[in-house]
């Protein structure tokens, strides 16, 4: 291949990079293939399997390694040859919507969300609608709400919080325990869960917010784990691994969703179906998410919100202007935690059962991924990212036909992390600052112009 690739001087390299010759591309792809063989040999070559007499045997899979290397070779070859032609596609231009349309689009989206359960019913029938309302509707909206809550901390105030799920857990456990032991109704548990989570946010924030950047991230991660371990080990209070079951379900202003005489269906003269509760839960989480969104938009335009963003831009400058940075960070932490707590209370009431399993670090990572993917600080970006990530994960469950391709043992849901990985790689290439990378000013003198992400800082604690 060497003669084809030509002399390996820096100048020639630069030229071939701009207009790759076939020889250069093949050499490059061969290198990639060799790299994949090097990586795949220790990882995928040997499979352990138990034979008939229950002994462990090693089974080499040369075919798979070669297939992986060949795939990498072909993809790299295609990329090297096609990349210069796709140069213009690299940075996707920002979609600008005229102001008149922005308002209309927002209304249309809202109308679509409100009509969603009925559209699902009409299209999928009673049996199929459960999946669409519960797995897609409610599940996605929970993450939209958590994403918006975390967006206050990470996106606006620029504090990298890797333990957000702790507040979700505090909200879920406090509302479940209040409902079960004190017997409070869901409608009292919900605000109390938010308050408890906010208090925990302040409590954890006090020692943690002295730290900056990477140190803050590590300590918040540790606090998230501490909360989870306390939930596991304080068996008398939390039930340990067994969790809490039989959490009272939310009622429709006192009317339970069951087949009894005084139930929701009987009172309104409807035929009882579990769909009523699902539709109600859907509207409940939709309302909670919209409240989170409205509060965030409002707070951004208040002095406190501007101070959060100023803090993300430059903490020292903030202090020189008389802003108490500790209080400002604590409010961001507490308000973010409060919305996490609301989300947790909803989660507990929806599931009827909670255990520490639901509040692992992976959840924090998913919520953070949604915020980062959406474009830090952007409300609509976070919502789109939540739909793509959570909806995408749920869609994997639908891919049962892949079993015919890969064999009966293939479970597509095992590959959901692959989806996150692909989304992150795609983002690195096309949208390095997230889906929505522009910042909209909170106030203007003559004309609101959106600010390019190049100027906006990510914050460093």
């Amino acid at each position: 291949m060497r003669p084809l690739a030509g002399p390996q001087t820096a100048a020639a390299e630069a030229q071939t990079a701009a207009h790759p010759t076939l020889g250069f591309a093949i050499l490059d792809a061969l290198k990639t293939g060799a790299l994949v063989i090097g990586l795949a040999t220790p990882i995928v070559l040997l499979e352990t399997r138990q034979d008939v007499s229950n002994r462990l045997v090693l089974e080499p899979r040369f075919g798979l390694v070669v297939a992986l290397a060949a795939t990498a070779f072909l993809m790299r070859l295609a990329y090297t040859l096609l990349a210069p032609r796709l140069e213009g596609w690299r940075i996707v231009p920002a979609i600008t919507v005229p102001d008149v349309w922005a308002g209309r689009l927002r209304l249309m989206a809202l109308a679509l969300l409100i009509a969603y359960p009925f559209i699902a019913l009409a299209l999928a029938g009673k049996g199929g609608a459960i999946k669409w309302i519960d797995n897609f509707g409610i599940q996605i909206l929970i993450y939209v709400m958590l994403g918006w809550g975390l967006n206050i901390v990470v996106g606006l105030a620029g504090l990298l919080d890797l333990g957000y799920v702790a507040f979700y857990a505090v909200g879920a456990y406090s509302s479940a325990l209040l409902a079960k032991t004190v017997g409070l109704s869901f409608w009292l548990c919900l605000p109390l869960a938010g308050i408890f989570a906010a208090l925990w946010g302040i409590l954890l924030g006090f020692p943690v917010l002295r730290l900056r950047g990477d140190y803050l991230a590590i300590v918040t991660l540790a606090f998230g784990e501490i909360i989870r371990l306390v939930l596991i080990n304080w068996v008398d209070f939390t039930g340990g691994y067994a969790g809490i079951s039989g959490i009272p379900r939310p009622t429709f202003f006192g009317l339970p969703f069951n087949a009894s005489e005084g139930g929701f269906a009987a009172t309104f003269g409807l035929e009882f179906t579990p769909l009523h509760r699902l539709v109600f839960l859907f509207y409940l989480i939709l309302a909670l998410a919209l409240v989170t969104n409205a509060a965030t938009i409002r707070l951004r335009r208040l002095p406190i919100g501007r101070a959060w963003e100023a803090l993300r831009e430059d903490e020292i400058a903030c202090r020189s202007l008389g802003i108490d940075t500790v209080k400002t960070k604590l409010t961001a932490f507490a308000i973010g935690a409060m919305f996490g707590g609301f989300g947790g209370a909803f989660f507990a009431a929806r599931q009827g059962f909670i255990s520490p399993e639901s509040f692992i670090f992976m959840e924090s990572a998913v919520i953070l991924a949604i915020v980062v993917l959406g474009g830090m600080g952007s409300q609509i970006g976070v919502a789109i990212a939540a739909v793509a990530m959570i909806g995408g994960t749920e869609l994997l469950r639908e891919l049962d036909w892949l079993k015919h391709v890969f064999g009966a043992g293939f479970d597509p849901t095992q590959y959901r992390m692959l989806l996150f990985g692909l989304a992150m790689v795609a983002m690195m290439i096309w949208k390095p600052r997230g889906l929505v990378s522009t910042r909209s000013p909170t106030i203007f003198l003559r004309q609101r112009k959106s600010i390019s992400g190049d100027h906006v800082k990510e914050g460093h604690g």
Binding site: L302, P303, I304, A307, A310, L321, I323, D324, H455
Partner: protein
């Protein structure tokens, strides 16, 4: 220097030690109300350290920094406050603050000392207008009922916000940046960013404005604009200015009072005329060897006298 007025800021025996390094060594000087005071000296003399002590970014190892609002404070008042162990004493318009005891944000919020930075620290991702609104944070925070009333959108908050925008607009016109109010601050050219940083500091309503090398990187025209802005701040806003500067055309042109530092110590203190003729200053700036110092001083003085004579001519 108006004689007899009590100082706005009195720096007494300020000492700052970083491990084995003595950055500021027993420095004392006064800043008078309504004056422009320049702090000059060779690189590494400890000027920025003094600034960081005054604005609370460093806690001094030793020394007292007392700032008086109103008619100034007597030595007895300062002593009494120091012994009381408190950080400040307020009594109507008359107030006294011991800056070395206060955290940085309180020095800006309560003692009303504002500052700029050697390497400009604007909120680059926020618009020019937003930068000036953030500077009025504490007043707006109060008007918004610490966000609770602001969430409800009450009228008194909207009025306060309109007043803040008006103040920002006036400052934008003074620094001739009104046309760029809605552009990100990071998009402005360097000279405009310097002026915006000064305007942002002024939006906190300071009694003392500390400028760390405001003329660094400015061309002669921008330097002249800066001089005009500094004079207007002193005259129209009544704000005293303390500035660190290397550009002697700015220092000699605008200052009422100059303090010269070398190796953390004060080597001279006086009017621009005094400083121009001070042998220690000349030696410090030209870096003369000790044994040659007196000979060089005499020579320089002769040259300076000659230059002055020429300058006085037609």
């Amino acid at each position: 220097m108006a004689g007899g007025t009590a100082p706005l800021l009195a720096v007494e025996h300020l000492t700052m030690r970083f491990g084995g390094l003595l950055a500021v060594d027993d420095l004392s000087f006064n800043v008078l109300a309504g004056d422009i005071t320049a702090l000059i000296g060779p690189n590494g003399a400890g000027k920025t350290t003094v600034f960081n002590c005054i604005t609370g970014f460093y806690k001094p190892t030793r020394g007292r920094l007392s700032l008086a609002h109103g008619n100034g404070a007597t030595t007895d008042e300062i002593e009494a406050l120091t012994r009381s162990g408190r950080r400040w004493r307020r009594d109507g318009d008359h107030a006294l603050y011991l800056l070395e005891r206060m955290p940085d944000f309180e020095i800006s919020a309560k003692a009303r000392v504002a500052r700029t930075f050697q390497n400009i620290r604007l909120f680059t991702g926020m618009t020019v207008l937003e930068n000036l609104i953030v500077a009025q944070h504490n007043r707006l925070m109060h008007a918004s009922g610490y966000s609770l009333l602001g969430l409800l959108g009450i009228k008194s908050f909207r009025d306060a916000e309109a007043a803040a925008i008006e103040k920002a607009r006036i400052w934008l016109e003074r620094i001739s940046l009104a046309a760029r109010a809605d552009d990100p601050a990071g998009d402005l050219p360097y000279g405009d960013q310097r002026r915006l940083e000064i305007a942002r500091a002024m939006c906190t309503d300071p009694v003392l404005l500390c400028l760390d090398e405001p003329a660094a990187g400015l061309n002669p025209r921008e330097s002249a604009d800066l001089n005009a802005l500094l004079r207007s701040i002193r005259l129209d806003d009544g704000t005293a200015i303390l500035l660190i500067e290397h550009d002697m055309s700015v220092v000699m042109d605008v200052s009422d009072h100059i303090v010269v530092m070398e190796y953390g110590r004060k080597i001279a203190d006086g009017t621009p005329e005094d400083i121009r003729n001070d042998p220690a200053v000349i030696a410090a700036y030209l870096g003369v060897e000790d044994e040659e110092e007196s000979a060089a001083e005499a020579e320089i003085r002769a040259i300076a006298a000659h230059v002055r004579q020429e300058g006085d001519g037609p």
